[in-house]
Symmetry: C2
Subunit: 206 residues, 2 copies
């Protein structure tokens, strides 16, 4: 069945390449300046592209921003989704915390992008928060509850435990300027990871 002359369904190679270039540049700019603080000119300059050309691929500034968020939302859920109900609680949580710390180290820009979006009321990702994220957290909270019921974990509110893990791990990406300023040096990820694991896990032992 011939695809009658509709709008481009399949991206050309050039489209794929340029959209990728734009999203890469946009992550740099949006994470550094926020949605309102970033300008289309900046993103165009960083992707070495004229502004009209950039707007040929994404018709509005907001479209770039939304695409960028969607592009990374699934990555965000992955480590939590991998929390294994039949594994050992402390090992599973340790793995999760380590994974989040490594994400903060490897991709602080994505972390700051989300932080900024949520800080400003999450206008673009409200549905994600109330939908997939909420659902996954509920599911994993049940897992933690079952561990507690089985006497394998100290009786801690699972939701607030998850919040605490998010808060602490993402702090090293979002507030790295403050961390470095207070420590007087660029913080070593290994040291931080070890300390965070101790602080968060020590109290969870039965």
């Amino acid at each position: 069945m011939p695809q009658s002359k509709l709008k481009p369904i399949v991206n050309t190679r050039i489209q794929a390449r340029n959209k990728e270039l734009i999203l890469d540049a946009a992550l740099d700019i949006f994470s550094a300046f926020g949605f309102r603080g970033a300008t289309v000119d900046q993103i165009a300059a960083k992707s070495e592209m004229s502004k009209p050309n950039l707007l040929y691929y994404f018709r509005r500034k907001e479209d770039i921003y939304v695409a960028l968020l969607e592009h990374t939302l699934s990555d965000w859920l992955k480590p939590l989704a991998e929390l294994n109900p039949s594994g050992d609680p402390l090992i599973e949580l340790s793995r999760y915390i380590s994974a989040k710390m490594e994400m903060s180290e490897a991709n602080p820009k994505a972390s700051r992008l989300f932080a900024n979006e949520i800080l400003h009321g999450a206008p673009m990702i409200e549905k994600f928060l109330k939908g997939p994220l909420k659902q996954l957290v509920n599911e994993k909270a049940q897992v933690i509850k079952s561990w507690i019921a089985a006497g394998k974990l100290a009786p801690i509110d699972p939701y607030h435990l998850i919040f605490a893990i998010w808060a602490v791990t993402q702090h090293y990406a979002d507030f790295s300027v403050q961390v470095d300023a207070v420590l007087g040096r660029r913080e070593d990820i290994r040291t931080a990871q070890k300390a965070v694991l101790e602080i968060l896990l020590r109290g969870l032992k039965v």
Copy 2:
């Protein structure tokens, strides 16, 4: 000695009142939209004042922002400064964490203002971070170290413990949209406070 005709040293009553009105409005606007996202018009509208009149009190948008940050920096340090070296470690830390949780509840806007500033590289408060804040944290880290040395506290890195307390407590102000979305309701501060105290303190007992 008569004060010769210099610029106004002492603020008039009207100045005091209007500057206060402006700063109140500015906290609302800057915390919601960030420095770049906020507009002078918005702040003027919120303070029920014409834009030129607002700019009579603060000549530039940046001046309002800086005044606002300075206006609250000392409040920020106060609870940590009150950590008492000769008190019981767990009670002192419990008091500190509770104070921070109450600040998140009582003044989430100030928390978001700082979060946004730090997230974007802290261009205006770099000196505060590397100066007074660093110094105070060093001092209190020593207190925690002495508690550990005295066998009154589990051996935890004091700097990362402080970071963890900041991260978790401020999370409830800065990421409240996410917290509420995941829980499906407005979170009750008492519940959150109790959970946070357990999570952070349980592992600190010797």
